[in-house]
Structure formats: C-alpha cells, structure tokens
C-alpha cells in the first residue's frame, strides 16, 4: 500500500501539519482533535506519545505531556484511540515520541501495531540515524512505516545530503538551534538558513517546525519549504480556548 505521507505532498498548496500531545487536555480528546483538524483542512497530524522526560521539548510540550500522563495516557490507549478514528480520517497520521516508551512496548510489536491501526510514520527525536539504519529500518519498512529525521542550523551539508539520501516522507527542518516552543517571528540568520536548505534542492520534501505560531511565521517559513508544523502554539490555543474552536485557529494560520 502507498504511504499517505507521499500523497499529502502531491497537492499544490503548502502543507500544514499540527502537533498535539495525545491525552491532553483530556484523556479522550484525541479522536475529537484529529477529526476537527481534518475538517479544518489540516494536511497531516503529528500525535505526540507523551514521555516523562522530553529533552527536546520546551515548557509548553513538557506541560502538555506531563498532563497527558497524569490523565492516564499510555501507548496502548493511544493505539486504541487511533484505531477507532482511523476509518473516518484520510490524512496521514504520524506518531511523535521518544525512544524509551517505544522500546518498552517492544519495537517489533510497536511497528506491527502501527501498521494495524493505520499510522503512516514516526518521528523519534532521540533515535539516531545510524542506529535506525542498523537496527530499525528493516522493521519499519516491513510494516510500511516512514521514519522522519531532523536537521538543524548546525547540521553539516554532508550530513544533510546523507539524511536526504536515507529519508522517506519528509525531512523535518528545525527552524533554529532550540527546543520546541512558539515564537512570534524569525530573524535574518534563520531566513538565511531556510534559503540555504532550499537551494540544496533535496530530493525529499522539507517541512519546517519549532517556532511556527501564526499566519506570518507560517507564510514566511513555507516560502522556503514544502510545509510547516505547528505544535506549541496550537497546544497553547486549545489550553486557553478549548478544543471546540480548533477551526478558528487553523483559519487564522491559513488566513482564510
């Protein structure tokens, strides 16, 4: 079967992907949020599998993860929630989580389960490319899963070429040397970095994340990329406004 992630990049428009922590604000909000996001014309969803010690995340996602865990979120529950909603959802669903909970679930069992419930890919920030290639790639491919890698302003051109070569789906371009978190604008250094990556003409689509928060940052960042991911700003929004008004947030981003 073809991976839905590839389909998402076939469209003309810039791709908008939303990240949220599964089980937050409430344990059983996951399906509702996913449905609302698709209805609001979001192109892809990254569902955060919460972890107690998310070292690559800033305060917003730390808080939403720890709240989700307090709500009783677990790997098994997440799979059930996704399995129940998948039939109604056409866009790609990606799970973003740290390696330890995945290891404890059992990597074989985890990949198999992802395929069964209809997950298209994974982003595992603390799984290094070389370990993935040596130990995990075979399993991921067997179960039709894409694993997406990150690049940052410090990633060397040679390493970017290497990551491009081994990547499927997309490359996750981290917008600055930083943990996750919403920012209101980009500086010149970031823009230079975006255009440097654009001029490399990578074979894999690139989407930018970390610090995208509004229409302006979305518009600017996607001039240089195939799309953008919004996490912390979305989580802040649903904390403040609840999950019923998700479509307003998305409308503002797309300036519709």
């Amino acid at each position: 079967m073809k991976n839905r992630i590839d389909g998402a990049f076939k469209k003309e428009k810039k791709l908008l992907s939303i990240y949220f922590s599964a089980g937050h604000p409430n344990l059983n909000d996951t399906s509702y949020i996913i449905k609302k996001l698709e209805l609001s014309k979001v192109d892809m969803i990254e569902i955060g599998l919460p972890f107690s010690d998310p070292i690559a995340d800033g305060p917003t996602i730390q808080k939403s993860s720890s709240k989700a865990l307090k709500n009783g979120m677990s790997t098994e529950i997440l799979f059930k929630q996704i399995e129940n909603i998948r039939k109604e959802i056409k866009i790609p669903l990606i799970v973003m989580g740290y390696l330890n909970p995945i290891m404890q679930y059992g990597i074989k069992k985890f990949c198999k389960k992802c395929e069964i419930v209809g997950i298209d890919g994974l982003i595992i920030p603390d799984l290094p490319v070389d370990v993935y290639n040596d130990e995990y790639k075979f399993l991921f491919e067997k179960h039709g899963l894409y694993n997406m890698f990150l690049i940052t302003p410090q990633t060397s051109p040679e390493r970017i070429r290497f990551i491009d070569k081994v990547s499927k789906g997309f490359i996750y371009m981290v917008s600055s040397a930083s943990v996750t978190g919403a920012k209101s604008d980009f500086n010149k250094k970031q823009i230079d970095y975006f255009s440097r990556i654009k001029s490399m003409k990578l074979k894999t689509p690139v989407i930018v994340g970390f610090g995208i928060s509004n229409f302006k940052t979305f518009k600017t960042a996607t001039k240089y990329t195939n799309g953008a991911i919004i996490g912390s700003a979305f989580i802040n929004y649903i904390e403040k406004n609840g999950i019923q008004k998700i479509n307003n947030f998305i409308k503002d981003i797309l300036n519709e």
Binding site: N100, Q104, D126, T155, S156
Partner: protein
C-alpha cells in the same frame, strides 16, 4: 570479558549516544577530539599540575585502624573527601574545563544533585574566568543550601529545575535543553559517568586518577598493588568508576557497588537502580533505569541528593549484568547511622552518599586478611542540616 568502552561507545549492551539531532554536532565534536586532546603532553601537564597544586592530590590512602579492628579486615579509605571543594567531583571538572578551553568554548553549563558537582564546576570556571550556569532541582536547592551559597559566591548562576521530582534527573533534562539552545559556544560538563558517549568514558578517565594512585599507595603499605575488595557508592557512578578503573579487568579484585535503597526497595521510594531498573534510554544513554511498564521514567527517592537518580552509568549497568560487580542497596536509615559511626570511630564526617558505602560492613562478611578499600567520596559539611534534623543534634 573486557570492561573498557568499545569503538562504538558501548560497554557490552549499554551506552551509545541516543541524542536528538540538535546535539549531534556537539557530541560528535567531543567524540572526535576527547581522546586526542587528553593524551596531548601539554594537556596532561596542566591537568596533573592542577590536580597536585590546586586539588591537593594525591589524596591519602588512609588505614582505618578502629574500623579494621571492629570489622576484622584491613580497611582503607581513599580520602577523596580531602580534595578541594570536598569531593571527587573536581577531578572531572578540572579535566573537562581544560578540554572545553581547547575546544574554544566560553560558556559552561552543568547539572547538580548534591551540589558537589555544581560547586566543583563553579570552582573551575572561576579559576579559568569562564561563565558558569548550574541547573539544580528545586528540592535539592532546599536540602543542599550551603552548596547553593558556595556556587553563588563562586560567581555561578544557579537555575532551579522545576519539573518532575525536582531533583537530579530534572536538572539534567534542563542542562540538556540549555545545550540544545546554545550549541556553538557552550560546553556541558556532565557530573558523572552518564549521558551520551563519549561522556561516560571521558568522565571515567578523568576520575581514574583515584585507582591510579591506589596502585602505588597500596604497594607501599601492603607490598601488593591490588586490594581484595573495592567499595563505592553509586549515584551516576563516577566515584565508583574512578575507584574501579585500573582494576576492571583484574579479576583478583572484587567490586562492590552500593546504591541508595531510600525507604526500602519495595517501598516505592527508592533509588536502587540495579534492583528496580530495566534496560532503557535515559539522558542519551542505553542503560538500566527505573521506569513504569509503559517506559515512563520513575521518580527516584533517596535522602542523599547525590544518589537520587533513576539511572546508572552504562559501565555500571554492564558490571551488574555481567556479574562483575556485586550490587548492594542501603536504606536511608543505615546510611544516616553510618554518618555518625564514621564520624565517631575515625573522626571523619562523610557525605550521606559516601556513608551508604560503609553500611555494607554490617551485613557483608570478610576474612581477617582481606584488604578493603572504600572510596570516601566526599565530606559531610553540605549535609549538616540533614544530619541536624535527623539526629536532633
């Protein structure tokens, strides 16, 4: 079985560098350079000079007469508590600050539990005139107040880690996030043999001066350069790694590692990683760690801030799994009692961390001619308030 690190940065099954891509350049820079830099002549000279004239090395290998008599064995104490700043931690920070300078870094970050590593880092930063930021759990800031004041006097900025159990694990998370945010100018001085490769090996090498000195010192007093037992407390495992280092592959020497049982292994409030941990990833290293069946890291507990960590360095995970070392865990109460015992039998007030190691004398049997070396990893000044409250002094 060999207990040195392998080419890929593993001890047996444990170790590696499970880091987000954001840290890849920093960690790779270290990995490529650390062995080369620390073997250079001028580095060695500066390191050894500072250890001698600034830290006060070699530290004595002291024969504890009264303890030996009472417990019917030859008991020696390696007096790391006499190091400048009061613990073994400074052996590592001297090494890492010199390395950071060679790498052209001008900002230092560190995590600390008991505050000993924070003080040792603040000290070497003052010595070199380099900016220093120390992350410390909010709970530890309260229970190790004297060390917080010392760090401030030394010019360091102490930032409270407010997530999780507000102890060492959380301070380490914050330090890692700081490093992600400041990848170019900053060196992260990790305080134990934990974290991604090459940290465990690098810190062990800097601490290995402990067992290097023992070889000559023991030869002088006992006519042989190896003991029968080496005993140390294990938080992350750096004082233990330094004590064991030159004996890891010498199987005449038995190794004992002492962890904090907290309120008891089955109490739910413990830091005995070997007994309670399973294989997993913490702070960039594959090792044993305390976690739920779902892979969430468990909040540890120990009365001693320096042992209050849910993981253990990958070397120690390997020593445990391969049965090279015997792991024993000691509850709060026994450790506290040993704080008093060592004070009143040998005139040495130990850190609570250190006191855990001595407590094995109550249950473990030795032969009269057995030579035991305890690593007296630190002094108890920082713990006076805890002792005062505990014993109503």
């Amino acid at each position: 079985m060999n207990y040195n690190i392998d080419k890929k940065g593993y001890y047996g099954n444990f170790g590696g560098a499970f880091i987000p891509e954001m840290l890849y350049p920093n960690v790779t820079e270290l990995k490529k350079n650390y062995l080369k830099i620390i073997s250079e002549k001028d580095f060695q000279k500066e390191f050894n000079d500072l250890l001698e004239k600034y830290v006060g090395r070699p530290t004595p290998l002291y024969f504890a007469k009264r303890l030996s008599k009472k417990y019917n064995a030859k008991i020696y104490l390696k007096r790391e508590d006499l190091c400048h700043t009061g613990a073994h931690k400074i052996n590592n920070t001297i090494g890492q600050i010199l390395l950071a300078k060679k790498l052209g870094k001008n900002r230092i970050i560190a995590e600390t539990g008991a505050g000993q590593h924070g003080v040792a880092t603040a000290t070497v930063c003052a010595l070199m005139g380099i900016e220093c930021i120390v992350y410390m759990g909010e709970l530890d800031i309260k229970r190790q107040a004297p060390n917080v004041a010392r760090m401030k006097m030394l010019g360091a900025k102490v930032i409270a880690a407010k997530s999780g159990s507000k102890t060492l694990k959380d301070a380490t998370n914050e330090a890692i996030r700081d490093w992600i945010n400041n990848p170019v100018d900053t060196h992260y001085i990790i305080g134990s043999v934990v974290g991604p490769h090459p940290y465990p090996d690098m810190v062990a090498r800097f601490q290995s001066v402990i067992s290097e000195e023992i070889k000559t010192q023991l030869k002088e007093t006992e006519g042989r350069d190896y003991p029968d037992y080496l005993i140390a407390c294990v938080g992350g495992g750096s004082n233990a790694a330094g004590l064991y280092y030159h004996y890891l592959n010498d199987f005449r020497v038995r190794i004992i590692a002492v962890e904090a049982a907290g309120k008891g292994i089955d109490s739910g409030e413990s830091a005995a990683t070997s007994a309670l941990g399973k294989e997993g990833i913490i702070h960039g290293s594959k090792t044993l760690l305390m976690q739920t069946i779902d892979g969430q890291i468990t909040e540890p507990y120990s009365i001693s801030a320096g042992l209050d960590y849910p993981g253990v360095g990958p070397l120690h995970a390997h020593l445990y799994r391969s049965k090279r070392a015997e792991f024993i865990s000691i509850p709060d109460q026994e450790a506290m009692d040993w704080g008093l015992t060592l004070s009143q039998m040998e005139g040495i007030i130990p850190a609570i961390e250190t006191a855990h190691a001595f407590a094995i004398l109550e249950s473990k049997q030795f032969k009269p001619n057995d030579i035991l070396i305890f690593n007296c990893s630190g002094r108890g000044d920082k713990d006076l308030e805890t002792f005062i409250n505990y014993f109503k002094l």
